[in-house]
Structure formats: C-alpha cells, structure tokens
Amino acid sequence: MPRTVAPFPKPTIMKGGMRETQAIVERIKRVNRGYQRLELAVDRSLSSLLPGQALLVRRISKDYEAENWHPYLRELWFPVDILASNMLVLEQPAREQFLPGQLLSILGPIGKPLRFRQKLRNLLLIAYETPPTPLLLMLPPLLAQGTSITLVAMGAARDYDCAHLPEEVEIIQANDDHSWQDMVMTVGWADQAFVLVGAGLELTRFAEVMRLIRARRQDVPANTIFGFFQRQLPCGVGACQACMLPIRGAAKLQCLDGPAFDLTQLRLA
C-alpha cells in the first residue's frame, strides 16, 4: 500500500544491494550498565543504510583462513547511529569483549528500510522483552523533522537504561501487567507504531501487544502497527528460507521483506 507510506527519510534508490565487506572497531564506549557502543569504520557501500536495515556480522582475525566455526552463524546487528559515510555506531551487550582493532566481516545492508507515514506526527515504539536497540537509528532524523516519539518498555525491556537516548523521546516504563498511564491517549494518538520483540515466541508476543492495543483503540487500520522481527538469519539473502514468516497471502522472508511487517497481515499465534 504505497498510498500512505514513503521510504525514509526521502525516497532513495538502493544502489548495489548487499555486499560482503570488512569493518574495524575504532572506539568502544560504555553507554549504560548493560551496554557498550562500538564505532565501526565500514565500507562506504554501507553509507546508504537506513533505519530498519541491519548487518550480519562475524568476528574475524587478520588471517581469514584461521576462522573457527564458533559461533557458527553471523550475528544480526542493527546500527544505532551513522556518524559519517564510513562510520557506524553499534550497540552490544557490555559482557561481549571487544577491543579497538577487532576486525569484522559484514554482510549488508540486510532488509528493507522502514516506511514511515509522510506526515508522521506521533510515533509509538514498543520494546517488549528485548532492548530497544534496533529502534534507535530512526530517532535523530524523525526528531529533526518534528515527530513526537514515545518509547514504551515492557517486560524485561525495562532493564535497559535509556538515560543516553535523546531527551526529546518520551520514555515510558510499562507496569507489570503491561499497562501504563495515559495508555489510551498514547495508543490512540499514534499515527504509526513499531513493536519490537526478541527472537522466539514473536507471534505470541505480537498477539499480546495487539490485544492490548485493540482494547484501547477500536480501529487499527492496515499499515499502522508493525511487528519488528529480529530472528537470527542464516543466509540473509533469501536462500535458506529459514526466516519465512506466516503472512496472509504470500510467504514473506524477514531477510528480504522485513524486519517490519504489518501486524494486521501477520498470522499471529
């Protein structure tokens, strides 16, 4: 339905598509109790990366031959900031050990950019049982164009300390029953919403959130509430079919068509 949605920040032609490149960790900063940020010098082919797109990352040593196979698959990382055309910021749990100079092999960009309403006034972001990291890249440009953003942390997402996020973002910690103050308003006023859940049991969790939303808002039109997936992607290019999602109509792949899918079109558990 391209009627009401447009790519972000303005229509961009994706050149070249996904590539395999190398990156190097330049700086490491702790941002809160549980997380650190890595500044990555990357290939310029990644400069066109947009919110919603991700990288499939594998640590390598200088000697590409000396690879071991643990972990076996690449990790899915969503950048949180773009500092320059060759400098991305990634957020990783603090328990992961990184040192400046660490080399990474990167496949990317993975996935489709998020599509935002052209005149987006109120954006609702929900992170449920997972840190909000994949939602952060959209914050600065949307704030700059005047969008009001509310980020609701539900369940274990509340453990993520948001003090380092832009102060214009309204942060709400949901109650244990997943409700929050002024819920009817937050939900009702949102022009668009993205619901982020961790890998595993996504369909159950999206269904829970949809029930919460429908209880507060009579009509949920198509292309309003999106589920944001972050399953591990074995191939990232549409080959392995392991990321197939139960969408009404056609089978869709998270790696090619995701990460965000209209929750009214997903067959929820």
Binding site: H70, L201, P234, C240, Q241, A242
Partner: protein, 301 residues
C-alpha cells in the same frame, strides 16, 4: 577443464569445476548474485522442489550448536510449475549448468516431474532427494521412475541409509550418487525450550561422511561418479573428499556463514585438479600443501 560428473551415457553432466552448492543452501536461482560470482562454480543445485506446493514447517527452524547448527524448514516451495515460471529466466542467465533438486515423494509424482523437466532447457540435470528411513524397495521404485528422464539423474542418499541404498539405487538408474544428505538429529530449541528434530550441519559431519564415501567408492562400479557432500568448510575439506574418491563436492551451510568460501573452494579445487591431471609437481603451484600430500597422490596416480 571439463569434468564429467555423471556416468557416461547419451547425456552427461559436465562441469568446469567440480564444486557446487548443496541443495537448500544457495536458493532457487541467483539469490547470492551480490556475493558470489557464479561463473567460478561448477553448477548450481537448486533448493528442493516438489510437484505440489509445500508450506513451511510449524515449529523451530534454527538451533545454533557448538560449531554447527540444526535446521528444520519444511522445504517450503510453491510447486514445480510455479518455480519454473518464477526462475526460468534467472536460470537462463546463469553462466553454469542448473541442477534441479527434486524431492522424492512418490514414483508417480517423480515421473510427472521429470517429464516436465525434460522440456525445460534451462535445467541441465536433476538431483533426486531420497527421504530418510526410506527402504530399498521404495528407493529403487522412485529412482526407476525418475530415471525415465533424458537428462542426467543424480540421486542424493540419506546419511544413515547410504551404505544400504548405494548399489540398488545405482542399479535402478542413477547416473551419479550424492553422499550424503545431512543427518537428522535432536537438539533443544533455545527459544521454545523443547527437544526438536532437524538436519545437523557443521564441520564434524565431514569425517563421518568421508569415511562412508571412501568405503563405498571401493565397492561401487568405477564408472559411477560419487559427489561428496557433508561438512565441507574449507578447501582442505574438499580436497579430502576428492582424495577419498569423490568426483565433485557440494558445500552446504558454510556458505551462509562465509559466502566467499564456496568460490575459494572452487578456485582451489579447480587449480589442484588441473595440476594433478597434468601430473605437475603439486608443490609448485600451491605453497600451503604438505609434503605427504603430493607423495601419496603420486603413488595413487
């Protein structure tokens, strides 16, 4: 170089490099076009296809293991006719032969599928996948039905039944045997917490399949090529298969983790075999070879 990897006959499959993806790893056509130069491979083997459409399996799909993983997808595909409509054009553009992997369901379906495929110029050969725990009678009936094809017929054998099936399947008309499909196993799904079954991939599969292949190579007719498949993660792994008697190799999940590895293996093996055929000194062209290699190989001719 031209290497015949199916039994000599009225048609046979000839590749420039004896390296290709295993069915299920590289997609249906050119999904890896941004990452892999297909011209460097010997052939493309498609994801598994069936006459009727198959839906994805319910339940967990990917369980990361220590140096490996469990995969369970249900082999979703829109059915053979839809696949032909969707991918024919892409196949035509590929610079290498396309081998269509056909899942063995019933002899009747197999026969209908190969009749259709004989009319499709873009498909150079068919690889028939036999299900796990298939018995000899079922397997030979399926292969006999599929062997009505004009094109070369490769047959992929299941892991545990490989030794038992190899000779009967060869007699039933297979032009080459692929050894083997990934073994099934059970692991705990990290997300759901339950024990789930699926195919097991990883480097440790290689020694298991390599032994099976080496033994069967000595028992099977010499003119029947065997294609090695299982746990190949490096050029050395591929060379070991060739050394054990494989005519070619298929690389499976290593490609997902390191897309360039498939091409590296293809280039390494291509060069190695070319040199070996010319009987040149191996050490001259590839510095990382060990002394033992060349000696042994020369001894074996």
């Amino acid at each position: 170089m031209a290497i015949e990897i199916t039994r000599p006959g009225k048609t046979s499959l000839i590749v420039a490099t004896p390296v290709m993806p295993a069915a299920g790893s590289l997609g249906f056509a050119d999904e890896y076009r941004n990452l892999i130069d297909y011209a460097n491979l010997g052939a493309v083997v498609t994801n598994p296809a069936t006459i009727e459409p198959w839906q994805p399996a319910a339940g967990a799909r990917i369980v990361p293991l220590d140096a490996g993983l469990l995969v369970h997808t249900g082999l979703p595909n829109p059915g053979l006719r839809a696949l032909l409509r969707q991918y024919r054009r892409a196949w035509r553009k590929l610079p290498i032969p396309v081998v269509l992997h056909l899942l063995g369901t019933t002899p009747d379906q197999a026969k209908r599928a190969v009749e259709l495929l004989d009319t499709v110029d873009e498909v150079a050969a068919v690889e028939l996948g036999l299900a796990d725990e298939i018995d000899v009678a079922e397997a030979t009936a399926l292969v006999r039905a599929a062997a009505t094809i004009e094109k070369p017929l490769l047959v992929r054998l299941p892991f545990y039944e490989c030794a038992e099936l190899a000779l009967p399947v060869a007699d039933a008309g297979a032009d080459a045997l692929v050894m083997t499909a990934a073994p099934r196993g059970t692991a705990r799904d990290a997300q759901g917490g339950r024990l789930v079954s699926g195919r097991i991939y990883g480097p440790l599969i290689k020694p298991l399949v390599l032994r099976i292949l080496g033994r069967l190579r000595r028992e099977l007719p010499a003119e029947l090529p065997i294609i090695g498949c299982g746990g190949i993660h490096s050029p050395t792994d591929a060379r070991d298969y060739i050394e054990a008697g494989a005519a070619a190799v298929q690389v499976d999940t290593a490609t997902w983790a390191q897309p360039k590895m498939l091409e590296r293996i293809a280039r390494d093996l291509g060069g190695w075999i070319a040199t070996r055929h010319a009987d040149a000194l191996l050490d001259e062209w590839h510095p990382d070879m060990r002394r033992g290699d060349s000696q042994q190989r020369r001894g074996k001719g």
